[in-house]
Subunit: 477 residues, 2 copies
C-alpha cells in the first residue's frame, strides 16, 4: 500500500518513533479528516485480529459473546448520577435523524453499562439465572479534549472489549474481579508484555464502582499506560436499574456486578514494548506473518530455488505456521528491511548453497542466525520460534524491571518518576497523595500492587510518616 | 437466560412465527428502549459468528480486512451528489460533544464510501497499487421511517460486511462484480439458502452506481428479501474523491470501483428459510451446537451412563464437532424441545439399552432416527451430518422452486405475486415497469436473472408487446 521510506527515528525519541512506526509498519493511517479517529491499515488490523483472538479464547472459556446497541437514550444514560458525572463532558450526542430533530437525544456509548443493565434487569429473575458473564467487542466514543494519539487516546475507540457480569453476592462479584485480573495477566503474558497490577485510589476509580483494579504497562519513555481495568460495581447499578433476583428462600435480592475492559491500547502496549530501531517486533502468537521466506535467486538455478521456496512454504503452512514467500523482484536486503519493519519473528533465506547443503538459514527478528537441517525442518523451526518467544519475554521483563525504582523520599521519587515507576510508601490518605502529585507532577497509580518486582513491605508514609504500605507513582498517558 | 415457553405459532403465519422464534430460540431481544435497534442474545450471536466466519473465510482468499471510522464529517459526506440524495433522509447526525456544539456535524455512516474513498485517494498512486480489495464488518445506521423489524429493517445494522475495491479499468471492475456475485452465491450455498440473482432496474440501483446486481431470498410468505448487493461504481466516486493512478505510460488515469455488502439480513434469511413449527433448523456449518447429547438416566446405572455421555462428548469434540451434553435434571422430552427450538442438527440419546447394545441413537432435527454403532461412531455421525445438510438444501430448494411462477399476463402475475416471485416478460422501459408495479402492488426486482429455475428466453413485454426478456417481480421486504 506504500513504499518503504527510510529509517525510523531511534526508539529513544519515543514519541517520534511511535508516530513513525504506526505509519511505516502499516498499523494506522492518521490522515482521516476527523480529529482523534484513525484508519486501521490491513497489517495493523491483522495484528489486532490475532491479538483479540487470544482475548476471545480466554474469555470464551466461561463467558458468552454478544452485542448491544451503540445508541443509548438520554433518559437511560442519565440514570446513574456518579456515572454521568464521570462521562458527561465526553459524550457525543446524536440529535438529528435525517432532517428531523429526535424526540430523545441518543448518546454514543462511551461504555455500555447504561445500554446493558436495563436488559439485565429483564433477564435476571432468579438465583438460577446467576452468574451472567457476557462480553462484547465494540466501538465506543469519547469526546476527548486532551491531545489525541493513535491507539492511546481516541475519540472513536474501535476495539473496546467490555465484559459485564452479574452475581448473587458481593463476595461472588469480588471473586469475579480476581478472575478477571488473572485473565488480563494471562492475556498480557501471551503478548509477552509485562504489566503492573494495582488498586486505584478512591478518587481515580471508575464512576459508580466500589473499587477498580488496573493493569498498567511501562512505556519506553517511562510513562505508564493504563491498559485494562476491572471494576467491582457493588450494587450501585443494580439499585439504579433494578436488577434483582429471587433467592432460594423466595426473597427478592439486589444483584452485584462487575465490569472489565481492554481497548486497542493493548496494541499500543504491544508495539511499544517490543519494537526497536528497525521496526516492529511481534511475538509469534500475534504475528500475522510468522515466517517470511526470502529466496536468494541466482539466474541459472532460478526454477529450482523458486520450487524449493514454494515447497518450504507448503510444509511450514501444513505445520500451522503463517508464512509468506517474498518473490518480489527487489534486492534481498530490501526484503529483509520490509519484513523487519513489520515485525516478522523469523525470516528463512533459501539459496543455491543451502539447497546443496540440505539446510535453510533461519534468522530471527533479533538477528540471530540458525542453520536448520532440511530433514528436521518443522521441529527445528518450532524450537527457534519458542526460544524467540522466551527471549522476547525476558528482554521485555528486563526493560520493565529497569524502569521500576524503590525510593524513600520525595526527591528520589521525583528523579525516578522521570525515568519510570517509583515505588513509595504512602499512608493511603488523599491529602498526602495530592501533595505527592502536585510536588512532582505524577499520578498515584495505586496500592495493593501485584508485581514480582515490588515487595509488599510495610513502612511509613513519605509525606506524613504514618504507617503505610507500598504504592506506585508515575507520569501517565 | 429464559425458560422455554410453549409452542411457536405455526410457520404459515410467518410474521408471528418470525417474531416469536427470535425470542424463543434466543436470537434477538426486541425490548431495548430505542426503536429499530435490538440486542443479540448469546445464542443468536454465536450463529452470527459462525455465519460471518464463512463470509470471512471466502473473502480472506483475496481481500484484506480492515476498519474505518464510524464518523463522517458533513463536508465529505456531502461530496457525491447522487449518493447524498440516496441517503440524506436516513442519516443520523452527531451535533454535540459533551456540552459543546461541534464545528462540523458528523454523520453516522449509513455505508462507508465517503469514509473510505478520501483515504483511497491518498493510497492509490500507481497502477502497481491496484487492485485494492478491502472489507470491513461494522455497524452502520439508517434512520428508517418505515416499520422496523429485527435483522431485516434496522436503525443500527450491527453486522454490515462491506467490501470496497479499486481497479485500473471499467472492465477490471466488472470482472470484480462477477467475482463478488460468485462469492455471495457460494456463501448462501454454504448456508443452504437458495437465492435469485438479478440486475436491478436503473431507478433501483445504488445511489452513485453504474449498475447493481442483487441477491434476493424468497421468504416463507412469498415476499423477497434483498440479502446482498454488488455495485459497479464506474468512476463516479473516483471523480468526486480524486482517486487516480499513474499508468504504465506515466499518464494519470481515473480509477474504477466496486462495492458490495451483506448485512445480518443473511441471518434473517437463514432462520426463515430453514425454520419450522418446532423452531430453528440450522445447517451444521453454522450451528453453534451441532450435536446435543441427552443421557437417558436410570437411577441404578446413573454413574455409568454419565461416564458414557462424557466419553461420547470427548470423542465427538476431538473429531471436530461442536457438542453439548445436557445433564440438567429435567425430563428428556423437555431437553428435546429445548435443542430442537435452537436448531441443533443432531441429537444423540444414550441410555442403558444403547450401552448394552454398543450403539447410540442419533436423531436429526428432521426427526429421522439412526442407530449408530459405537465402534464406528465418528464416520457414522459424519455421514448422518452430511446427509442432513444435503436434505436441508434439497428441502429449501424445493420450497423456493414452488414459489417461482412463470406467468404471461398481468392477471396471472397478480395471482403469483401473492404467493411468491413471478417471472414475466418485460421490455425494460420504466413506463411499463411502473404500470406493472402500480397495477399489482409489486416491485420489478430485475433482469438478467441467474437462477436455475428461470430460463432466459426471449418473449414480448406483457404491457407493451415489444421484444423482451424475462424479469422477476415480487412483493418485497
Amino acid at each position: 500500500m506504500q513504499e518503504d521510506k527510510g529509517a525510523l527515528p531511534p526508539k529513544e525519541t519515543f514519541s517520534e518513533w511511535y508516530n513513525d512506526i504506526l505509519w511505516q509498519a502499516e498499523i494506522m493511517d492518521v490522515r482521516y479528516p476527523v480529529k482523534g479517529v484513525y484508519v486501521w491499515f490491513p497489517h495493523g488490523f491483522a495484528v489486532r485480529k490475532a491479538t483479540y483472538a487470544i482475548l476471545r479464547e480466554l474469555l470464551d472459556k466461561d463467558h458468552d459473546e454478544t452485542l448491544f446497541p451503540l445508541l443509548i437514550p438520554e433518559n437511560e444514560f442519565m440514570k446513574e448520577a456518579e456515572h454521568i458525572k464521570g462521562f458527561e463532558e465526553e459524550v457525543y450526542w446524536v440529535t438529528h435523524g435525517g432532517t428531523s430533530e429526535l424526540d430523545v437525544p441518543l448518546a454514543l456509548r462511551p461504555t455500555s453499562e447504561t445500554a446493558i443493565y436495563p436488559m439485565y434487569a429483564l433477564w435476571v429473575r432468579s438465583h438460577a439465572d446467576l452468574p451472567i458473564k457476557l462480553y462484547q467487542i465494540v466501538n465506543t466514543f469519547r469526546y476527548e479534549t486532551k491531545h489525541t494519539r493513535p491507539l492511546i487516546r481516541l475519540r472513536e475507540i474501535t476495539s473496546f472489549k467490555e465484559a459485564h457480569t452479574v452475581h448473587a453476592t458481593w463476595k461472588d462479584a469480588e471473586s469475579q474481579v480476581n478472575d478477571a485480573v488473572t485473565l488480563y495477566r494471562t492475556f498480557y503474558d501471551r503478548l509477552c508484555v509485562p504489566v503492573i497490577i494495582s488498586r486505584r485510589p478512591e478518587w481515580d476509580k471508575f464512576p459508580g464502582a466500589d473499587y477498580t483494579i488496573a493493569t498498567d504497562v511501562i512505556m519506553p519513555d517511562g510513562k505508564t499506560l493504563q491498559a485494562g481495568t476491572v471494576h467491582h460495581l457493588g450494587d450501585h447499578f443494580s439499585r439504579t436499574f433494578d436488577i434483582t433476583y429471587e433467592d432460594a428462600q423466595g426473597e427478592q435480592q439486589l444483584a452485584y456486578q462487575t465490569c472489565y475492559g481492554i481497548s486497542e491500547r493493548c496494541i499500543a502496549a504491544l508495539i511499544s514494548t517490543h519494537g526497536d530501531d528497525k521496526g516492529l517486533v511481534l511475538p509469534p502468537a500475534v504475528a500475522p506473518v510468522q515466517i517470511a521466506i526470502v529466496p536468494i535467486i541466482i539466474k541459472k538455478r532460478e526454477e529450482e530455488i523458486r520450487a524449493e521456496a514454494e515447497k518450504l512454504e507448503t510444509e511450514l503452512k501444513d505445520a500451522g505456521f503463517r508464512v509468506k514467500t517474498d518473490f518480489r523482484s527487489i534486492r534481498p536486503g530490501a526484503k529483509y528491511y520490509h519484513w523487519e519493519m513489520r515485525g516478522v519473528p523469523l525470516r528463512i533465506e533459501i539459496g543455491p548453497r543451502d539447497i546443496d547443503n540440505g539446510v535453510v538459514m533461519a534468522v530471527t527478528r533479533f538477528g540471530e542466525k540458525n542453520t536448520v537441517s532440511r530433514d528436521s525442518l518443522i521441529p527445528g523451526i518450532q524450537t527457534i520460534m519458542n526460544t524467540f518467544t522466551e527471549e522476547l519475554k525476558e528482554r521485555a521483563e528486563q526493560k520493565a524491571q529497569e524502569k521500576i525504582f524503590s525510593v524513600s523520599s520525595l526527591e528520589e521519587a521525583r528523579e525516578a518518576a522521570g525515568k519510570g515507576v517509583a515505588v513509595i510508601q504512602w499512608c493511603g490518605c488523599e491529602e498526602c497523595a495530592k501533595t505527592i502529585e502536585t510536588e512532582i507532577d505524577v499520578s498515584v497509580l495505586g496500592t495493593d500492587v501485584q508485581s514480582k518486582y515490588i515487595a509488599d513491605t510495610a513502612g511509613t508514609c513519605i509525606i506524613c510518616g504514618k504507617p503505610s504500605r507500598p504504592a506506585i507513582i508515575a507520569r501517565t498517558y
